[in-house]
Symmetry: C2
Subunit: 418 residues, 2 copies
């Protein structure tokens, strides 16, 4: 099945926003074994969209459209697609009810324009919008499937997972089973990871292995194709065992989970708590933890000790340590982690102190970072170099701090998590 994605929206052609929807849908379609051959973007212009639909019709079996389902007169995707497939628009009662309830709840008047959002193409399968107002839909015309989605990613993604993916699975009942898994790594660079897996990557056919580096993390996407689910999973399992035997100690999680989600879950699961003392990351470790719902169970708080006065006054770093070793040192990191643990009466304390740049500090190079992790009986300090821009140094240092915390919890509880 050949797929293509058309995004509708002048704001994309003006460069005001990036077409992240095309990335999301491509990733999902490929994971389902559907190949994407083209992306395109057209503005809010009926003639150019119609011309683009004609091109897509001639070369694809599956056309996904994003955007242009809103309530303003610029939103014309439904109208143009309806004309393209030779059908009319009609009101969808469920969608209309949702919109009416939305305005009632806010005690705002509903205009005729808002009603337009409840129009669907006659005969289309409706994809309800559970996080917004405009429903999506699917319609088939001369063997080509057209799927329409709202533009906001917060509406498109849940709609895709709940309604569009099942629709696409129905389309190809005899399709091979596609099984995909993402392994997430931290504390190892992309090239170091790849070099340890080079023979596996070079000889990949099924499952395939796709490495991808993000700031401070590396992921491996494994995809296996097989005739049955059991078969696909078995193929995958032996590859995963082989990868874990080589680089398993750097893996922190699976699929879409983040470092902070894994950490909060592990802490929660083991009834442990953590506090943080942050210098160069300025609060990013604390904030990352509080991004996770339920963080309050495991995280009472932390100290941002950007200035040396705060390191001394709030966290008891002796002036002579700052004088002799400096703020960016093994000893300072150790004391910060131990003291913040005591101060907040937590099971673990973590600290980050380093040179975020752009200038060096204490004659130490940009990117040099010390990360301390203190437990009841032991404190470990990691010295790392995460050189790059200020943003890169802060992001990578915070991710490593989360990663070392995860490792520490795993060690403490005898690696039961995973």
């Amino acid at each position: 099945m050949k797929a293509e994605i058309i995004a509708v929206g002048t704001e994309l052609l003006l460069g005001q926003i990036v077409n992240t929807n095309a990335q999301f849908l491509s990733e999902q379609l490929n994971a389902q074994g559907i190949s994407v051959y083209f992306h395109s973007v057209v503005g809010d212009n009926p003639d150019r969209l119609a011309a683009q639909l004609a091109i897509a019709h001639s070369r694809s079996d599956l056309v996904l459209l994003t955007g242009g389902l809103g309530s303003t007169k610029d939103d014309l995707t439904k109208e143009v697609v309806a004309r393209h497939v030779g059908r009319s628009l009609k009101l969808e009662p469920q969608a209309l009810k949702r919109i009416q309830r939305f305005f009632e709840a806010r005690q705002m008047p509903m205009t005729e324009n808002n009603k337009r959002q409840a129009l669907i193409i006659d005969g289309a399968r409706v994809f309800p919008n559970e996080t917004g107002l405009a429903p999506g839909m699917a319609v088939k015309h001369e063997g080509v499937h057209y799927l329409l989605f709202p533009g906001p990613p917060g509406e498109l993604k849940p709609m895709y997972f709940k309604y569009a993916r099942p629709y696409l699975v129905e389309l190809s009942p005899d399709q091979h089973v596609v099984h995909s898994k993402v392994m997430r790594f931290c504390g190892i660079g992309e090239s170091a990871l790849e070099s340890r897996l080079l023979d596996l990557i070079d000889n990949q056919t099924n499952p395939t292995i796709a490495p991808l580096a993000k700031e401070g993390e590396v992921t491996l996407r494994l995809t296996s194709f097989a005739k049955s689910k059991a078969d696909a999973e078995q193929k995958m399992a032996s590859l995963i065992r082989e990868i874990q035997a080589r680089v398993g100690k750097y893996q922190y999680g699976w699929d879409e989970e983040t470092l902070e989600e894994v950490l909060v879950r592990q802490l929660h699961h083991n009834n442990l708590t953590v506090a943080a003392a942050e210098s160069c990351t300025g609060g990013l470790v604390c904030h990352s933890i509080t991004r996770v719902n339920g963080a309050s169970q495991v995280f009472p708080g932390g100290i941002v000790c950007y200035a040396n006065d705060v390191k001394m006054g709030e966290l008891g770093v002796p002036p002579e340590v700052l004088g002799q070793d400096g703020a960016i040192s093994e000893r300072t990191a150790r004391i910060l982690a131990e003291e913040v643990r005591k101060k907040f009466k937590t099971d673990l304390g973590v600290s980050v102190t380093g040179v975020a740049g752009p200038e060096q500090q204490e004659r130490k190079p940009v990117g040099l970072v010390f990360i301390g992790v203190a437990g009841e009986h032991k404190t470990r300090v990691y010295k790392v170099n995460v050189g790059g821009s200020r943003h890169t140094v802060q992001t990578r240092a915070a991710k490593l701090a989360l990663f070392y915390l995860i490792r520490t919890v795993e060690e403490l509880v005898g690696n039961q998590s995973g």
Copy 2:
């Protein structure tokens, strides 16, 4: 002049990366007064790229291609465009020299594949690559201009500014001067801002006004076209005066500057310091400030007081305040801001306490946030509702905290900044 942008690369169709180059080029072309009508993405496949070039040739005057200029056999943009315009490829001596020097400097052998990067389309204008190896180029065929750029943004952007932009200016010597400015607002929603400027937006022709909402911020991009620079600036100036008369109190900056950059600059400029006590934002205000180079001059640190124990123990919030009013209250926000200011001996103290969600807290709704700003003589507490996802609540609350700080500094120093 009608332009379109074609990105070449299977990694885009697999969803491994986002097409940020299309955004960058669109923004630049629009700023130069060139309208972009289509974006497309094709994989590393000669037939599909050739077909896409034929479509582009039929509808555009200017076709910008990104990617596919590298040294591997997947990189085929030059070959396919050469065939499309009926020309051959030839070695470009300057580019070859650069590549040779690159490998010599690294004492690495240069392969035949690397040499391919120095090939250009016969008769093309060369765009040297000063941050990489593969040169870009421009070639004209049947009235249509084809511009080829390397895919990595770090190579494309400098090449665009130094070589492609002058080329495009030459193409339209009688083109009007284009002058563009972005006004940045916080503390007001997009629809509220638009409704106060409705007549200006409805009647826009020159300058044009394009509003855009980002998480917690709204921007207005003003673009004026004129025969001379003085003319363009004058047209712009009167529009800016009109906008500022209506919504000036919500403007915090210009063009690409961030809230934290404006705040750090203003604090620095006025010899002021700030400390932060954060509950629901968990360190995001602190971290935002430390993202700015030079933050250490104005920001000693802060306290992340996620748990009530920390609010009491570290920041002296009396238990009876937490018992009567709750942690999410005007009184708590006030005390946190005042106490953190005292504790860190700063000129200003800021606090954030609210319901990040997804569940309500203290029977208060998700999105309710109190932001305190304490100075030497006065503390002000702002009660806001920034409902949405956990991420949205945290982001908007942190941005508002930065915005209220900026306003406070402006008031303190008699609005000299701006």
